[in-house]
């Protein structure tokens, strides 16, 4: 999130005489700040407070790290964390598929308009809808297995959502199915800002598709790829609840239980809000670490770009 050199210059050009109290910017950010304070600020403070508050007998409570200890020693915590880590695999998959597809679309492969329209459609469909439809398609006796039968690929038949071994990967597949379009459109957009002269020069040099791809398209996409990568990692940590909730409820045998599901269980099913609060803080800390790593990588990528 650090501003680049060019950003700093352009905004400084706009600076209204520094030192002079100008209320304008504060008024501009005021509505957003108010909403964010109400929706994020106060609840966040409450959660942090609650995480240190350990309920004792007769409605009293003490302060301490007990909640954190309880959460961290809950075997389900580690299980859930591992499941989120498994879902992280979706991120490279998304990137590796989206980038070449975007390249093809950018190069106006035949029918690109249709392909581009289709690509984004899964993204606009509600997760419950996606989840319910796939729940049917992936049933032990559902259409996917029927198709595999028909293709004589019986060895591949599985109880996709009902088998602990395949359930989390089936969830991953559905997530990728839906999120791919966002990446594709994002990359196509970025590619459209590529200067034609570069491509023409490459063609004159008789560069083939792969060479153009690696030497021109990828460098141009570098920061966008990094942005998409970060966003997707954040998604896999904090925004997959709906998928799991609708398709598996965390099962079978807790094999798709993710951190958000554990949060839900603590807060809503077991009535343990303080544990939920501690878990929330833990998830936030993990995310912040991820972001810090991302920022470091971004700085290095930008240095490469320049």
């Amino acid at each position: 999130m650090t501003a680049t050199a060019t950003e700093r210059t352009s905004s400084r050009a706009e600076v209204r005489r520094p030192g002079r109290r100008n209320p304008a910017p504060y008024l501009f950010i005021l509505p957003a700040v108010l909403v964010l304070a109400l929706v994020f600020g106060y609840p966040l403070l409450t959660v942090i407070w609650d995480s240190f508050s350990v309920p004792q007998l007769l409605g009293t409570s003490s302060f301490g790290l007990d909640n954190y200890a309880t959460v961290l020693t809950d075997p389900l915590f580690l299980k859930s964390l591992l499941n989120n880590l498994r879902l992280f695999l979706a991120v490279p998959i998304l990137t590796i598929v989206a980038v070449p597809v975007a390249a093809l679309l950018f190069e106006r492969v035949r029918g690109w308009r249709i392909y581009q329209s289709i690509a984004f459609v899964p993204y606009v469909i509600a997760i419950p809808v996606v989840g319910i439809v796939f729940s049917y398609v992936l049933q032990r006796n559902g259409v996917l297995n029927d198709a595999l039968h028909a293709l004589r690929l019986d060895a591949l038949v599985h109880d996709w959502l009902g088998d602990s071994g395949t359930a989390i990967w089936s969830v991953l597949f559905v997530i990728v199915w839906q999120q791919l379009g966002f990446g594709i459109v994002l990359f196509v957009a970025r590619l459209s800002s590529l200067e034609n002269s570069l491509i023409e020069a490459a063609l004159l040099d008789r560069a083939n598709w792969w060479q153009r791809f690696w030497n021109i398209l990828i460098p141009h996409l570098a920061t966008t790829i990094e942005f998409f990568f970060t966003l997707s990692l954040i998604n896999m940590l904090s925004w997959v609840f709906n998928y799991v909730f609708v398709m598996t409820g965390g099962g079978p045998a807790q094999s798709t239980n993710v951190l958000e599901m554990l949060l839900y269980t603590y807060a809503f099913r077991d009535g343990l809000p303080n544990l939920a609060a501690a878990l929330s803080v833990i998830v936030l800390l993990i995310s912040l670490v991820l972001l810090a790593i991302q920022a470091a990588i971004r700085r290095r990528v930008e240095r490469l770009e320049n």
């Binding site: 352009s10 304008a24 504060y26 598929v97 459609v121 509600a126 319910i132 939920a276």
Partner: protein, 273 residues
């Protein structure tokens, strides 16, 4: 010959992708047009006779009209305010210097990593104390909050590259900050604003957990929640369930199809530099 070969080679991955994307959707729509018996017999085939009976059943008695209205009101209001507040804040973060600016910038991404479920309980405490359970304004408020970081992030990137000359001439014309923003910047930001609006609308329309918790009464419930809750009743009859899901999807699909021209342009100007 070679050109044709490579053209064909390029088509193959695209076709495979298109098939993977379309098949579940095909399953959804095709089965909404069948009878339950027909679905059980052949879940993948075309219906021998297209019937809308499933749609009729899905629509009756669920108060779908009310559900639709609630979803529409909430989506439109939250998107509108998120875009307006977000644009204002994004502009300030892009083009104005003020104390606390860098802090504001640094907060954006961290805000996006908070799982919505983590804050649900304290949010519920506060809003129910304020008597706002079953009141759409509670959900609208929370949606705006959730949408703001991404909106600000996206629009700020766009505003950063907004030409200085235009801003200068606007100021020379005697416009203050607000005037410049309102009369000059906004009209030229169409694609970005639309992109932000589309992404936000998709989020608001499809959102499940928050509206489930805050809008519990029949009158205030949203469409996606209503359908998920009625799933158990509907799903003994799969075509009816599929019909219901299709009905819930159509509005968002329309919004997307209408706005997709601007989507690419908007994302172009709004994403990474």
């Amino acid at each position: 010959m070679k050109a044709v070969g490579t053209q064909a080679a390029k088509q193959i991955p695209m076709v495979i992708l298109a098939l993977i994307i379309l098949l579940p959707l095909y399953f959804l729509v095709v089965n909404s047009l069948k009878t339950n018996a027909e679905f059980a017999a052949s879940p993948l085939a075309f219906p021998t006779t297209v019937t809308f009976g499933a749609y009729k059943k899905a629509l009756q008695g669920q108060g779908i009209g009310r559900l639709f209205l609630n979803s529409a009101v909430i989506s439109v209001f939250s998107v509108f305010f998120a875009t307006v507040f977000g644009a204002l804040a994004a502009f300030a973060l892009a083009k104005m210097d003020f104390r606390g600016r860098s802090w504001g910038l640094r907060l954006l991404l961290p805000l996006m990593v908070i799982p919505p479920i983590a804050l649900l309980v304290p949010q519920f405490k506060v809003l129910s104390a304020a008597g706002l359970v079953n009141n759409p304004s509670s959900v609208i408020l929370i949606y705006i909050g959730i949408m703001l970081p991404f909106t600000i992030y996206l629009l700020r990137n766009f505003f950063l590259s907004f030409p200085e000359e235009i801003l200068e001439s606007a100021r020379l014309d005697g416009n203050g900050s607000l005037g410049t923003f309102w009369r000059v910047v906004l009209p030229l930001s169409g694609p970005s604003l639309l992109t932000a609006s589309i992404v936000n609308f998709v989020f608001a329309w499809n959102e499940l957990l928050i509206s489930l918790v805050f809008l519990q009464s029949d009158n205030s419930r949203t469409l996606v929640v209503g359908l998920t809750i009625f799933q158990s009743r509907l799903s003994l009859n799969v075509p009816v369930l599929m019909a219901g899901l299709t009905i819930a999807t159509i509005p968002v699909l329309l919004v997307y199809l209408f706005g997709q021209r601007f989507l690419v342009r908007g994302l172009l100007s709004g994403s990474g530099k």
